[in-house]
Symmetry: C2
Subunit: 144 residues, 2 copies
């Protein structure tokens, strides 16, 4: 285990939210413990295999990670307006998922449940920056 790896683990453990490789790279540089971007990518891949972090794909083109140690499993809601990530857990859904896999005779390796929402009621008016442009696009398309 190299110094850079240790730095990355420390940084990951200190995070309570979600982060990208790019973001981690930026923190470490800012904090005077620079690690090259390539190494951050390689490190996150290793940490993910080791279940130190968990990677998610929220369909915006960038992989996001979060600490996986000392945390319980959860799923995510992502606001399509402001990209806020809200976590939730639902044991019943978990059970039903497992049952579906069992019914097919498969083995569950991983599962990913993401609800894309508009968090209108949660955010104060105006804080959801992308709403206008989305609605403009929708109208312009004449379809939705």
């Amino acid at each position: 285990m190299t110094g850079q790896r240790r730095t990355m683990v420390r940084a990951a453990m200190a995070q309570s939210g979600h982060f990208t490789a790019e973001e981690m790279h930026r923190w470490l540089s800012r904090d005077g413990e620079p690690v090259s971007l390539a190494t951050v990518y390689r490190g996150l891949a290793v940490l993910e295999e080791a279940a130190v972090v968990e990677g998610h794909d929220f369909a915006d083109g960038t992989r996001r990670y979060e600490r996986a140690v000392d945390r319980e499993h959860h799923d995510h809601m992502v606001c399509v307006d402001c990209r806020a990530v809200i976590e939730f857990t639902n044991d019943r859904i978990e059970e039903l998922q497992q049952q579906v896999v069992d019914d097919h005779g498969f083995t569950m390796q991983d599962h990913s449940l993401t609800l894309f929402v508009e968090c209108k009621a949660w955010h104060a008016e105006g804080s959801c920056s992308r709403r206008e442009e989305r609605e403009a696009r929708r109208k312009a398309s004449g379809i939705g």
Copy 2:
């Protein structure tokens, strides 16, 4: 509506499985109705907005589409070995998802449930081509 767009719609409707932009581009070329890759990308985006196709992100770096017309909603299992896509539906899970969103006072825009499985029991022995390399990697890492 241009000829290319019509071609794309026809091709999409003829598909029962999942496909990428690259794949659609290849068919059309092969079938003597070539449409440039850029246009395929643009067309699929339009068709998705119009709910003619549905796009999915199965975490392998490429967006996949499927016909959305005359089909009921369903979720997916993806085999991590051979990348087979198996569809399933579960009304109870759907209800519970909606309930989670309601409980937060949000509005559901979309949702994505993908179970990553090993389809061992389903595929005949040997047809899951990626299994060996995955297990080799896992062992090599000394972690899993």
